[in-house]
């Protein structure tokens, strides 16, 4: 009958109206600056540098190999390698800048880094009053701890840690094997010496 649908619709909206007061579950709004939605595992926007031990400078995993700098499509990474007094490279970045106003969040730097030193961040409240200097993230702003990495991307970080530990164990084994091989060679050499003499 004419008007039936209107009454049904009015009942539905009335239910919503009253329901939104009696049952706060219905309200889907997140009151943003005070409340946050828990970040998703795959959320990512700009890169950051991971450090392992306490010191955020010395502990950086980055060895300043500049692979990411070369691969970055918009060329927004700038790296200068640290050198000691004699000019020998230190395997450590002296300058590591990312201009996030240029970065397009492609994650290529993360893919190419052989040392798992650079990862994607979820920090998005980056508004600045100065759009040149403020968005040029320097080394000290970029370096964040491994714990932080675990906090934002726990699954991925666990994988990376497992892989790194694996690699480290293998490397140690290799070293041990080498040492053992050297030792046996030495022993054999020593054993052979008197015969020769």
């Amino acid at each position: 009958m004419l008007g039936e649908g209107i009454i049904k619709g009015m009942a539905e909206t009335a239910r919503n109206f009253i329901g939104s007061y009696s049952d706060p579950e219905r309200l889907v709004t997140v009151q943003y600056p005070e409340e946050h939605i828990p970040a998703k595992q795959n959320a990512r926007n700009f890169p950051f540098l991971v450090f392992d031990v306490e010191d955020p400078v010395a502990g950086l995993r980055c060895v300043a190999c500049k692979i990411c700098e070369k691969e970055c499509p918009p060329q927004c990474i700038y790296i200068v390698m640290d050198r000691d007094d004699k000019g020998k490279p230190c395997k450590h970045p002296k300058v590591f800048d990312i201009d996030v106003s240029v970065c397009m969040s492609c994650q290529i730097c993360v893919e190419v880094c052989p040392f798992d030193a650079i990862k994607m961040d979820t920090e998005f409240e980056l508004s600045e009053t100065n759009r040149y200097g403020g968005l040029l993230l320097t080394k000290d702003r970029l370096s964040k701890s491994n714990e932080y990495y675990h906090k934002i991307h726990s699954v991925e970080a666990a994988e990376v840690d497992a892989r790194l530990a694996d690699e480290k164990a293998k490397a140690e084994e290799k070293v041990k094997a080498k040492l053992a091989a050297a030792a046996t060679a030495k022993a054999a050499a020593q054993a052979a010496k008197p015969v020769a003499g």
Binding site: M1, L2, G9, M10, T13, F17, R26, V28, T29, Q31
Partner: protein, 397 residues
């Protein structure tokens, strides 16, 4: 004069006038009537915008504005500041003068229409004998203003919106006036004050509002439907039609002029709600005898808020009509129903002299029966030749 609390504003006005020098009394009297109307209904507009946004939010399971002030109550102030500080853009091709005048031409008549509304006992600013006629005549001025705005903007959307507005408002003015004819017939007067007085008596503790008669129920609903079309409210907001023609006749307005259009629209809504209250809901009378002690203006504004709430509720529920549906509904349903309602009112009035036991119930049954039969039959025949089945698309499939 009734009790002093009820008459406080009237007494206040007389007291203020007594300080006025002799020759200026008429002007002072006018000002003392006009300024409160402008202030009160302007304030009501601010209140309604926030209530509407909150109500619509709740209907959609949102909070609505809640940032400015406690519970977001200062939002209208923030909006006002925003509107005032915005750039006022006038298109180069627009007709500058008419473009400028249109918002004021909309506000003016609406405020003038308030002058005949009795908002409380002895509280009509202008007690005209032909007040109702005056109200409708002035109210028709808003069509002109809307068309001025749409035409002078030199914009296709504006013009379309304005054409829609004029077509809609003129076709719904007919049922609007026809649905109030029974009231005029039975009250025997065109004066809003007299119409409210006619609803003042009571029987069995219930007021004799026109709503409590068969023709009154039908008339009230028909009036409110036509009123929402007159006030461009959903489901009759096709002149604005954001999703089709952006904002209709308001497209080229910005800043304060846009706010004025907005204000005019809401004021029009309040005015027509006020008229509905005057005609059918007993004006400033209380619904029950034992509540008579509450001042009359409270009742008027309480009823007004209730009607506004219903309009917000409707806006949160109904989608917009299509132009042909709107016209079809207006001419094929509203017009016959209002005409029939006049007939029913006549039957109700003439059968007053019948005398036999159970006559009251018989009259009710007779009048309601006629109206319901017509409603069902009209509804069926309008929906009849429309098949509601699976839709067939010619090109999309």
């Amino acid at each position: 004069m009734g009790n002093p609390v009820d008459q406080i504003f009237v007494i206040l006005k007389h007291w203020l006038l007594s300080f006025c020098p002799e020759g200026y009394v008429p002007i002072a009297s006018i000002l003392l009537s006009v300024i409160p109307i402008m202030a009160v209904f302007g304030g009501l507009f601010a209140l309604t915008t926030i209530l509407e946004r909150k109500g619509l939010g709740r209907i959609q399971n949102r909070y609505g504005p809640n940032r400015v002030g406690p519970c977001g109550l200062f939002q209208p102030i923030a909006d006002g500041v925003k509107m005032l500080t915005k750039e006022d853009i006038v298109p180069r091709a627009a007709d500058q003068v008419i473009h400028f005048l249109a918002p004021f031409a909309l506000i003016g008549p609406v405020y003038i229409a308030y002058s005949v509304l009795p908002v409380g006992r002895n509280m009509a600013a202008l007690d005209l004998d032909a007040g109702l006629l005056f109200f409708f005549a002035v109210g028709a001025g808003s069509e002109l203003a809307i068309f001025m705005g749409g035409w002078s903007s030199r914009n296709k959307y504006s013009l379309l919106g304005a054409m829609r507005a004029v077509a809609q408002m003129i076709s719904y003015e007919v049922p609007l006036i026809l649905s109030s004819v029974p009231v005029i017939m039975l009250a025997g007067s065109l004066s809003p004050t007299a119409i409210v007085d006619a609803q003042g008596g009571h029987s069995h503790g219930l007021m004799q509002w026109h709503l409590f008669t068969p023709w009154g129920i039908a008339g009230f609903f028909l009036f409110m439907i036509a009123a929402s079309a007159e006030a461009n409210r959903t489901p009759f907001d096709i002149p604005e039609g954001e999703s089709e023609i952006i904002a209709g006749y308001m497209v080229e307005y910005s800043g304060f002029k846009f706010a004025l259009f907005f204000l005019g629209e809401y004021l029009g809504l309040f005015a027509i709600c006020g008229l509905g209250i005057t005609l059918f809901l007993g004006g400033w009378h209380s619904p029950f005898v034992f509540l008579e002690w509450i001042p009359s203006y409270f009742w008027f504004f309480g009823k007004l808020m209730a009607m506004i709430f219903v309009f917000i509720w409707l806006r949160g529920t109904l989608p917009r009509l299509r132009m042909d549906q709107l016209m079809g509904f207006g001419w094929k349903f509203m017009l016959p129903m209002t005409l029939l309602n006049i007939l029913v009112a006549a039957i109700w009035h003439l059968s007053k002299t019948w005398l036999f036991p159970g006559v009251y119930l018989t009259r009710w049954a007779l009048c309601l029966g006629i109206l319901c039969a017509a409603y069902v039959w009209l509804g069926r025949s309008l929906a009849g030749n429309r098949s509601v089945g699976k839709r067939v698309y010619r090109f999309a499939d």
